[in-house]
């Protein structure tokens, strides 16, 4: 008689002829979606979320997850997803939660931008054989260099250069907290960052002791919950970031459900086991821009000005003015997270309807900072669905110094973007704290896969730069001239500073 049940999204189909009955799928499923009763069957509660693990481990390819082909009469406004979520809210009275980034079909600006290439009048450069420089330094830079002579009449640097973080390629890993992801997953990112000579980020979960040896490549986060923030944490790091917001949920704080707070997380965050870590929306010591400046300098003082201190914000409507304020407040790095940025847990309604695209945000911020003559006071990191080296090249041309990749790095570790991170049941051992799941994730193996991704994108970026006839990434950075738009409105092109293709 159960009529009020939210219809399941997915259906598991097993080919029992070829199934070996090894039960790897049943044991592997973190969501308990499968049972074995003589043969593999779906559990009556229909928990399958299409995480892809069973299909990955089946030795016979005997199992497949398909969309549930439930018939809904077509409706342009009331999509099947909306009909399901409305019913779910009626049944629970709760805020809908989700994970990863915005899944709705908003226009992807990247897909309307095309890159230039050299033909005849300017030669392309051969990246396979000739040098191609991607090295990037993040941090504040002075407006000019002053030179003085030493006793031998040799030129020497007179200007003080503030501390920088050196990246071998303009890619970093987005902050994903220990708690939202497992220690093994975080270790994989730390190892890959070391391997590739780039930076990873702790997120707001603090820095687990086991990862101290990777701290010198870490950007440690000071978020509103101030989890794990102590002086050793700050001093070991390569950089510090104050997290004001993130693209997935602008205006609200971090969210770690109690299911994902076992002993170790509780220890790292210094909160009771099993409690929900719901970070406050604002930092309670930042109610205005001058408070931000105060916190920035408190941190700089705490580490004796030895590393860059940055600020991470979500890309929202007035982002250019906000960015200008933040840079003038003393931030050395500005991390902009577009509306497609991912998360371990966020209210679906916030994730899918708040924020602006990163392409427009970076262009607007880069323009504003240049207009005010303060662009080089701060490095820009762009995040929020950087999906390929093409997106990487385009966002650099729009003005970013580097990108932060979250979703891409997770997919490299096995994630199928099922968006159920908040449950803590990730079959891949990534967004879970359950030991039987986390032990599946071998950091050595996954680090290699993530490093492979970075390496592949790096090689592709070199090919792109070579085609553009430049041999150093700084010659593409901010050069809108190397982009052209197809199918964008004039207003969008004006914000981007990009001309129409053909012009």
């Amino acid at each position: 008689m159960a009529t009020n049940k939210v219809p399941r999204d997915f259906k598991v189909v097993v080919d029992h002829e070829i199934c070996r009955r090894c039960q790897r799928c049943v044991r592997g499923c973190g969501f308990d979606a499968l049972v074995f009763e003589g043969r593999v069957k779906e559990h009556p509660t229909n928990q399958c979320v299409a995480c892809g693990y069973c299909m990955a481990v089946c030795p016979e390819a005997a199992i497949a997850v398909t969309e549930n082909p439930m018939a809904y009469r077509h409706h342009g406004a009331w999509t099947p997803a909306l009909r399901r979520s409305t019913l779910k809210q009626a049944l629970t009275g709760g805020v809908l939660l989700t994970g990863m980034g915005n899944e709705l079909d908003y226009e992807m600006v990247f897909d309307h931008l095309l890159l230039d290439a050299c033909q005849v009048t300017n030669p392309s450069i051969d990246p396979l054989r000739e040098p191609m420089e991607l090295r990037t330094y993040l941090g504040r830079k002075p407006d000019q260099v002053e030179v003085e002579q030493d006793e031998k009449g040799q030129p020497r640097l007179k200007t003080d250069i503030p501390p920088q973080v050196k990246l071998e390629t303009p890619i970093t890993f987005a902050p994903m907290s220990y708690g939202s992801i497992s220690l093994n997953a975080q270790k994989s990112l730390a190892l890959a960052a070391k391997e590739c000579g780039i930076m990873w980020a702790t997120g707001e979960g603090g820095l687990h002791q086991d990862l101290y040896e990777y701290a010198d490549r870490a950007c440690v986060q000071v978020a509103s919950g101030r989890f794990g923030v102590h002086s050793e944490y700050l001093k070991r790091a390569a950089a510090i970031e104050i997290k004001i917001g993130q693209g997935a949920k602008p205006g609200i704080g971090g969210h770690l459900p109690g299911e994902k707070v076992p002993l170790q997380v509780s220890e790292a965050r210094m909160v009771p086991i099993g409690t929900d870590c719901l970070s406050p929306a604002p930092h309670h010591d930042i109610y205005s821009i001058e408070d931000l400046r105060q916190l920035i300098y408190a941190l700089k003082e705490a580490v004796d000005y030895s590393k860059p201190v940055g600020v991470k914000i979500a890309a929202v409507h007035n982002v250019a003015a906000i960015a200008s304020g933040i840079v003038r407040a003393g931030a050395d790095i500005l991390y902009l997270d577009g509306f497609r940025g991912g998360t371990g847990a966020a209210p679906t309604i916030i994730r899918d309807h708040v924020g602006i695209p990163i392409e427009l945000a970076i262009a607007a911020v880069d323009d504003r900072l240049r207009e005010e003559g303060i662009r080089n006071h701060c490095s820009l990191i762009a995040a929020g669905s950087i999906r390929s080296s093409a997106d990487l090249a385009k966002i650099i041309a729009l003005g970013a110094d580097a990108v932060a990749i979250g979703t891409a790095a997770l997919i490299a570790m096995g994630c199928h973007v099922c968006q159920r991170c908040y449950t803590g049941n990730c079959s891949w051992g990534i967004t879970t704290q359950r030991p039987e799941l986390t032990r599946r994730l071998d950091p050595m193996v996954r680090a290699e896969m993530v490093a492979n991704l970075v390496r592949a994108w790096t090689e592709e970026l070199k090919e792109i730069l070579g085609a553009l006839g430049v041999n150093a990434v700084e010659s593409l950075r901010g050069s809108r001239e190397r982009l052209r738009a197809v199918g964008l409105t004039k207003e969008t092109m004006d914000v981007l500073g990009v001309k129409q293709a053909g012009v």
């Binding site: 051969d126 396979l128 054989r129 000739e130 040098p131 592949a456 090689e459």
Partner: protein
């Protein structure tokens, strides 16, 4: 811009010879050989004063003369004329006095050219057969895509020398330079032999950066002290020459030393390094298949 007409060898001259505007070539009886000592004397040749001659005229005169059967040429007062010797198939000799312009001997297939002076860029571009000897320095992009023949330069050579030289069976191109070279020496080499001697180096580095980058065939021989920093060791293996290899080197150096009156034993009296490809497929692992 008229010049005193010079005597001109009549042997074998056919009426087809195009004498352009009486500018530089005059018919005359008898021979006038102002050739350098050591070259064949008494051999009939065409002498052309290139002063003020546009390269098209100069090269057409040479081509027409070759078609008419002439085999020996002396070009004097050459300055900047391009494409000398380009596309010629016959085994003619051309002595050049002055500074020939770019692309000397490009697509050449047989002639022997000697430059008494410095050469510019693009020497032996895609050359197939023949010989070019330069009694001075030469510029950038020498022997690009060279497929055979040899180039000897007494002094320094520039950037991007020997890019993508290639060889097949007996068709093996050789470039020997007596001085130093710039960056990208032997880039993407697929075959052939590049030799750099640094005889005039005077404390300078022998070769620039990115030497042998992308090498997947052929060999590069470097004389004297080298810095591994300059060599693309991800693509090239470095080894000292052994005795057999030194013998082979001697046979390459013999005509070089002869051409420039150098003592082969003195030249050989130093250590030599040989760069060879680590793989015939250095970029095989780059692509996700």
């Amino acid at each position: 811009m008229l010049h005193t007409p010079l005597p001109f060898c009549t042997r074998g001259v056919s009426p087809r010879l195009d004498v352009v505007g009486a500018l530089a070539v005059a018919r005359g009886v008898g021979l006038c050989c102002n050739l350098k000592p050591g070259t064949q004397t008494g051999c009939p040749h065409v002498r052309i004063d290139a002063s003020g001659l546009h390269y098209r005229k100069l090269n057409k005169m040479v081509r027409d003369a070759v078609a008419a059967g002439e085999r020996h040429f002396e070009l004097v007062n050459v300055n900047g004329q391009r494409y000398i010797g380009d596309g010629l198939d016959e085994e003619v000799t051309i002595q050049i006095h002055g500074t020939p312009g770019n692309d000397l001997g490009a697509f050449m297939n047989g002639p022997h050219i000697t430059v008494h002076g410095n050469a510019q860029d693009g020497v032996a571009n895609t050359m197939n057969r023949g010989e070019i000897i330069v009694h001075g320095h030469a510029g950038d992009v020498i022997g690009y895509g060279m497929r055979g023949g040899r180039v000897f330069v007494r002094g320094d050579v520039g950037y991007r020398v020997g890019i993508h030289m290639k060889a097949y069976k007996t068709q093996v191109p050789v470039i020997i330079a007596g001085g130093c070279a710039g960056d990208f020496f032997g880039e993407y080499m697929a075959g052939g032999t590049l030799i750099l001697l640094g005889l005039n180096r005077d404390g300078r580095p022998l070769v620039g950066d990115y030497c042998a980058t992308g090498i997947h065939g052929g060999e590069i021989i470097l004389r004297g002290q080298i810095d591994e920093f300059n060599i693309a060791t991800n693509h090239a293996r470095i080894a000292l020459l052994d005795d057999d290899q030194r013998q082979a080197l001697r046979s390459h150096l013999h005509p070089f030393c002869q051409a420039f009156e150098l003592d082969a034993d003195q030249v050989l009296d130093d250590r030599f390094y040989r760069l060879t490809p680590i793989s015939h497929r250095p970029f095989g692992g780059n692509y996700a298949t």
